[in-house]
Amino acid sequence: MAAKELITTVTVGAGGAASIDFTSIPQTYTDLVLVLSGRTSRPSTAFGDTVNIAFNGSTASFSNRLLEGNGSSAYSEIGTRAIGYLPAGVATANTFGSISLTIPNYAGSANKSYSVDSVHENNASSGISDIIAGLWSSSAAITSISLTSNTGYNFVQHSTASLYGFNKGSDGVTTVA
């Protein structure tokens, strides 16, 4: 079994998609990594759009702390389900943001602590970079992940998201104690 395996990739087609969903996630890996290249259809008055996450169809029991920088200032805030900020509306055409989400021990019975890195760029005229510490306070194994726009708009065509599974193991040489 490879240490890192692609589970599946979702590509948004013509017409967009209200959500990007990963369902029936195999419970055989150790950790999950989700990478997203995306943009939303939030109207032309808006610069960007926040992406929210849900596990197993639940939007409850999420908490996070975020650090954000935009090239001229930084700030930190407390939130719940946000995992980053994507271009939308007036952002430069053909410009997509990137989000990387890591969930260790997603199939375990402990609460799920996760890590997010997110970047949004707008052709050097503006940009946002976020790092996020998240927690889903649930003992349930994660079997599905759903991503949505915080403002209810669609992910646009050509947005893609890939889900990878990491497998722990041993090479028979390295020791740990």
């Binding site: 908490s63 702390r65 930084a74 930190s76 021990n105 602590s113 998240g134 040489v173 390295t174 740990v176």
Partner: protein
């Protein structure tokens, strides 16, 4: 261009409270190392320390970080005889009441012609989020990595996973 290949090297899930976790005899056949920590501490908030090849001298490490606690951004830089040089966390520390996770990327760990740079992202939703860059001021290949809370222990159920990357 082929994608990076990950190989699982070692892992441990703690069956009891443990003061240190050490990955040893790390082979020099990969380019980078990737460490994933998902942990509870044994008491109050405590920073996680990483020491390389048994080097406990603070001045052999240099560290710079940015961090946020949900209210304010902050930053820091440490060098010299300062215990903070060997830490991976600031607000993303371990504690008994809440799980934290840390990912560490050690770049070119097996090279013998450069100091070792490593990046750490530490996360605890009830406290804050950190991004660190550190340098071990030594050209030796890395063969062991020790992880420990600075003043307490890791709790039962904490997990540690090491991958080699080519």
């Amino acid at each position: 261009m082929p994608s990076p290949k990950y190989t699982a090297l070692a892992n441990i899930t703690l069956g009891s409270t443990t003061s240190t976790v050490t990955f040893g005899s790390i082979p020099s056949t990969y380019r980078d190392l990737y460490i994933v920590i998902d942990a509870l501490g044994s008491g109050g908030a405590d920073d996680v320390v990483m020491q390389i090849n048994g080097d406990t001298t603070y001045s052999n490490y240099i560290r710079t970080l940015i961090t946020g606690n949900g209210t304010s951004p902050d930053w820091a830089s440490y060098s010299g005889a300062n215990a903070n040089t060997v830490k991976l966390t600031y607000y993303g520390s371990v504690i008994s009441a809440e799980r934290a996770n840390i990912q560490v990327h050690v770049l070119d760990y097996s090279a013998t012609n450069k100091h070792k740079t490593y990046l750490a992202r530490a996360n605890r939703a009830g406290s804050g989020v950190d991004a660190n860059v550190s340098r071990w001021v030594n050209t030796s290949a890395i063969t062991s990595v020790l992880l420990k809370p600075a003043g307490s222990s890791f709790a039962t159920g904490s997990t540690f996973t090491l991958y080699g990357v080519k």
